[in-house]
Every structure is written in structure tokens, then in C-alpha cells.
Symmetry: C2
Subunit: 340 residues, 2 copies
């Protein structure tokens, strides 16, 4: 698989590409399947429909990898937390974690309750072309913790950070719980058939440097090391958003470093490409304009050259009103400009 080879820094005939949130609302086909499923969590829990939306961008765009359709919050949901996706507001936990007792109530067997995910993976892997990779994923322990503690999304993360600075042992206990659950979950995704896994640390950049390495990166590295110890052949991608100030301290046993659009690709390359493959980093809103797509692709391709170890991606997820034809244009252009 071209995608897996690129993750492992092997030669590939061209640079593979996939897009974060490539199965999403910008696709009319996704909106149709979503309407069938009812609410968002019902779509995540329905293996057949999750399979269907996972495969849509492969057929429509021709990307080199599919990413399992799911949500990072299925873990806390299956730990027993009361999750609701509120229209116009996003995810809400009605019973946020604020103390030891709240933490003790959470189930230890979320990895078993997530069997609908493994069912979806088996279906997808059966229907997906043999040369296309299937990427599994989980949220990072810290990113999950912010939702669990705040009770939803946040601008300031102040409840989580108050815990971090005034009761760090409670936060570490929550992160421990999340880390153990994520490792078991990702190992079961691999058993079910995914060809690579990515850990999404959407809110790592909310932390100052010392806190980021203590409360987020250390747990991500632990997850990665646990996966690589059992499955050295499976690429692990770590992606923390908003940490361009911390690149010189990135370490650990993993394969691919995900780069957001706030980190110039030259700097990411200089900081980590000697040790890791790089995935990223085009600004997603360039997809509003084919001219700007071309400019962005040419720049990234020029910087990354044709050395093995680059996976083209956006620096963040697809937005709901991006034109499908521009996403298709991007995929074709990356393939064309990077052919060896």
C-alpha cells in the first residue's frame, strides 16, 4: 500500500494523499447516508452505514487511504458518560468529570463495548481495494479529557487547566484511564483490520510547553510505543494541533508526525524529518480556490521534494462548504506533481 509505505519512509510511485474529515458534510453522499442514520452517534454505531461513509471519498476523490468513520468521543461515551451532540453547539457531556468519584464511575471495558467499530472495520476492509489503506484512530488522552472535564468544547479549557495546575494528580488519573482505554481500543482496531492508526490531539496546543509534554505528549508516546511493540508493521501517526513552538522537543517511538497549517512545512521538515515521516499540512480553506490549491500544493511539494516519507494532507479537517470538485482537483494534482 502506497500510504503505508510512505508512512514507513519507503519509496512510493507518488506522494499519497488523504484528507482529515474527508468523509463529511461537504459530500452530498455523506449527507444522504447521515439522514438515513438519524443522529450522529447512531451513524457511528451503525457498522453498515459507517462503512458506507468511510468508503465514499475513496470512490469520489480517489484518495489513497480511507479513515474509519467514527468520533473520538465514542470512548468516553462507552465508558458510560452521557454524550449528546447538540445542534449548533457540538458535543455535550451532561455529567462532566470533576472529581475522583466521577472518575471511579467510568467503566473499564469501553474497548469491548466498541465492538460496532470493529464490525465496521471488517466490513470496510472487505470492500476497500487492496492497495488502499484503512486508517484507524482515537483522540489523545488529553483531548478526550478536555471534553470529559469541561462537559463539551471550550475556548479557554479553564476547568481542565485549573485541574492541571491545582490538582494534577486527578488529571493524571483521568489521563491514565484514557490512555489504557485508547491502547486497548487501537489494538482491537488493528486486530479487526486497520493498516495504520492516528492519534488526534486536537487541543494539545492549548497547553504551554512544559504542560504539553507532561500531560499530553507523554501519554501519546506511551500509546504509540505500546502499539509499535506489538505491531511494528503498523504505522502510528501522532498529530497535535498548534504546537509549532515545541517542535524541537518532539521525541518517541512512532512513524509519522502530523503537521497543522500553523507550522510552516519547511520548519516541520527541519525539526523532525530526520526521524519521522511527515503528514500535512495544506491550509484547508485553500480548497475554496483551485488557484490557491495549486499554489499551496506546489509549495509543499517543492519543500518536501521526492524523498520518501511525505503523506499529503490538510493541516486540519475539511469544512462543510468546500466544493467537492476542488477536493478532487487537489487529489489529482498531488498525484500528478509527485509522480516519481
Amino acid at each position: 500500500m502506497i500510504f503505508v509505505d510512505a508512512c514507513l519512509k519507503k519509496q512510493t510511485p507518488y506522494t499519497p494523499i488523504w484528507m482529515m474529515r474527508q468523509a463529511g458534510r461537504y459530500l452530498p453522499e455523506y449527507r444522504a447516508t447521515r439522514a438515513q442514520a438519524g443522529d450522529f452517534m447512531s451513524l457511528c454505531r451503525n457498522a453498515e452505514l459507517a462503512c458506507e461513509v468511510t468508503l465514499q471519498p475513496i470512490d469520489i476523490l480517489g484518495v489513497d487511504a480511507a479513515i474509519l468513520f467514527s468520533d473520538i468521543l465514542v470512548i468516553p461515551a462507552e465508558m458510560g458518560m452521557d454524550l449528546e451532540f447538540v445542534k449548533g453547539k457540538g458535543p455535550v457531556f451532561h455529567d462532566p468529570l470533576r472529581n475522583e468519584a466521577d472518575l471511579k464511575r467510568l467503566a473499564d471495558d469501553s474497548d469491548e463495548k466498541l465492538s460496532y467499530v470493529y464490525d465496521a472495520i471488517k466490513l470496510i476492509r472487505k470492500d476497500l481495494a487492496a492497495d488502499k489503506a484503512l486508517i484507524g484512530f482515537a483522540g489523545s488522552p488529553w483531548t478526550l479529557a478536555t471534553y470529559m472535564i469541561e462537559g463539551g468544547g471550550s475556548k479557554t479549557y479553564e476547568i481542565s487547566k485549573k485541574m492541571l495546575y491545582s490538582n494534577p494528580s486527578l488529571l493524571h488519573a483521568i489521563l491514565r484511564k484514557n490512555t489504557d482505554a485508547i491502547i486497548k481500543y487501537l489494538l482491537k482496531q488493528i486486530d479487526a483490520g486497520v493498516n495504520a492508526v492516528q492519534v488526534f490531539d486536537s487541543w494539545g496546543g492549548a497547553l504551554e510547553e512544559s504542560a504539553f509534554f507532561e500531560f499530553s505528549w507523554s501519554y501519546m508516546k506511551e500509546i504509540s510505543a505500546a502499539i509499535k511493540a506489538q505491531h511494528p508493521e503498523i504505522p502510528v501517526i501522532l498529530f497535535s494541533k498548534g504546537i509549532s513552538g515545541y517542535l524541537d522537543k518532539i521525541d518517541g517511538t512512532f512513524d509519522v508526525f502530523g503537521v497543522d497549517w500553523g507550522t510552516p512545512i519547511e520548519k516541520a521538515k527541519a525539526a523532525v524529518f530526520d526521524r519521522y515521516a511527515i503528514q500535512g499540512n495544506m491550509e484547508p480553506t485553500r480548497l475554496y480556490s483551485q488557484e490557491k490549491i495549486k499554489e499551496g500544493v506546489e509549495h509543499i511539494v517543492k519543500v518536501m521534494g521526492k524523498e520518501p516519507g511525505h503523506i499529503f494532507n490538510l493541516g486540519h479537517g475539511m469544512l462543510p462548504d468546500l466544493p467537492v470538485e476542488n477536493a478532487k482537483y487537489l487529489v489529482d494534482l498531488v498525484h500528478e506533481l509527485t509522480r516519481r
Copy 2:
């Protein structure tokens, strides 16, 4: 004034400190004055009450500078846009800017309509101790534009960025309008008595590197150059949040570079301290714990040493539930540890 001297890299007896959003909801005295004023914009438009809340942190905390109490959105409001602060949601413009015609409707004399700000400045400067500086401010052209275009706060800035990539000349026309208004506004603030000015670019970090320099930093530099040409004695502070990946390209005629908590202070010092004074950068949520305040202050003070040119500040604004006694502890500790 110690604050002004530090901005101009002159020797000072100790490192001056003030805090972004130091006049705010964490102070019971602020909440009392705010309740008198009614809504938020009424407080901004009432020179006596704006003076009162501006001075509160000077008396209560002993900071070295007062910052004018106002809001960055007074400029678009006085251009004629329909601004409302909606509880639990933040600022909303009911008539967002989406095309040339919307832009043409905006008034050119916002700087004259903002006379209540100059009245407040005169009152504050009269009541403020002679050794304490008064800082005036404005939002950056880009940051104001995001609110004007999106119609309020945003997570993705997708309408603004769609304009940036698909209709850049319209965005430049909006930025031109904002820049001209900001220059006139800041010059009038100086005429009224402020001793320094800061440009807040809260959402500069939403832009990728090339877009940041073209659509935000270039206009900030233009503002700074215009101020310095007329008032070389007035320090100009430029603060863009979330641009730690772009530090090596920072240039322009200004005095102080504001550093958020996502940029390690060592890196900010290495990148810009040869040319600019530095203001920042303690993580605001450290203020939940005196132990963590001490750790943060000791680190920053150690890195910055006792060379002239550092103004201690937070990397972002004070939060509503931070304890006042911890803010006071921070101010005293910075003064104590930096005494020459």
C-alpha cells in the same frame, strides 16, 4: 515611567508588570461598576465608569500600567455596524460584511465618534499616579475584519478565509478601511494622553504563514510605522496570538513584541530580543495556584535575566474565576524577584 522605559529597552529598577484583561470580571469591584453601567457597550461608552474600572487594578494589584478599559469592536460599531453582546455567546454583528456594498456603507469618521474614549483617557490620566503608564489600544485590522465578516466570533474563520483565498481584493479593501481608522484612533488616543499603544491581533494565528504576513502583519506594521513617525517617544506594542511558527520573519518599526503562552519565552527571546523588547508570556491559568505562579515567574525571570526590555504579562487575558489574591501575589513576586 518604569513601564515606558522597559518598552524602550532602558534600565528600570525592576521588571514592570501588567496583565491583559486586568480590569475584568475576576474583580468584585469591576462587577459592581459593570452592574451600574448596564450592558457592556454602555460601560465602554461611559467615560466616568470606564475610568473607574481602568484604575481598579492599579489600586488593587499594584501593576505598573493601566490599560484603557474599552473593547476592540468599538471601531466597527462606530463605523455603523450593528453590534450586540449576546450573553453566553459574545459579540454579534447583525449586519456582517460580505461584499463591496456592505463595505461602502461603513462610516469614515469612527475616530471622531469615539470621543467618549478620549474623554475617558483624559479622566484616567488625571487620576492615575504620574509614575504609572496608561496604555491605549486597538484591535488589529485582520482581527476586527474576522468579527465584521463572520458576524461574531468563530472557530474556523471560514467566511473570512473564503474571502481571503477567493476574493482577496475585497478583504484588502476591508483591511485598508480598518487600518486607516485604527491609525486615526490611536493618534487621537495619544493626543488625549496615553503613554503607549498596543495592537491586539487575537486571531493572527488563524492564518497560515504567507497569509499572516500579507493580511495581518503588514497592516500592523503600517499602523506602528505611522504612530512612530509622529510620536517616536510613544512605545508601540504588537501582539499576535498563535504565531510561534512565524517568529523568524517578524520585522517592522515598533518597540515591543507581545508573546503568548504557546511560544516558549526562550524561543521568543532568541528570535526577536535583539531588535524588540518582549512582553509576556505566563500561562494565565497558572494563576489558579500560587505554587505554579512561582514556578512560572522564576522560569521567565531566569530566561529574561535582568537585561532591560522585558515587560512581565500573561500570555493571554485574565479569566473570570482567577483569585484576586493570586494576581496580587504574582505582581509582588515579579517586582521582588527582578529588583536590580
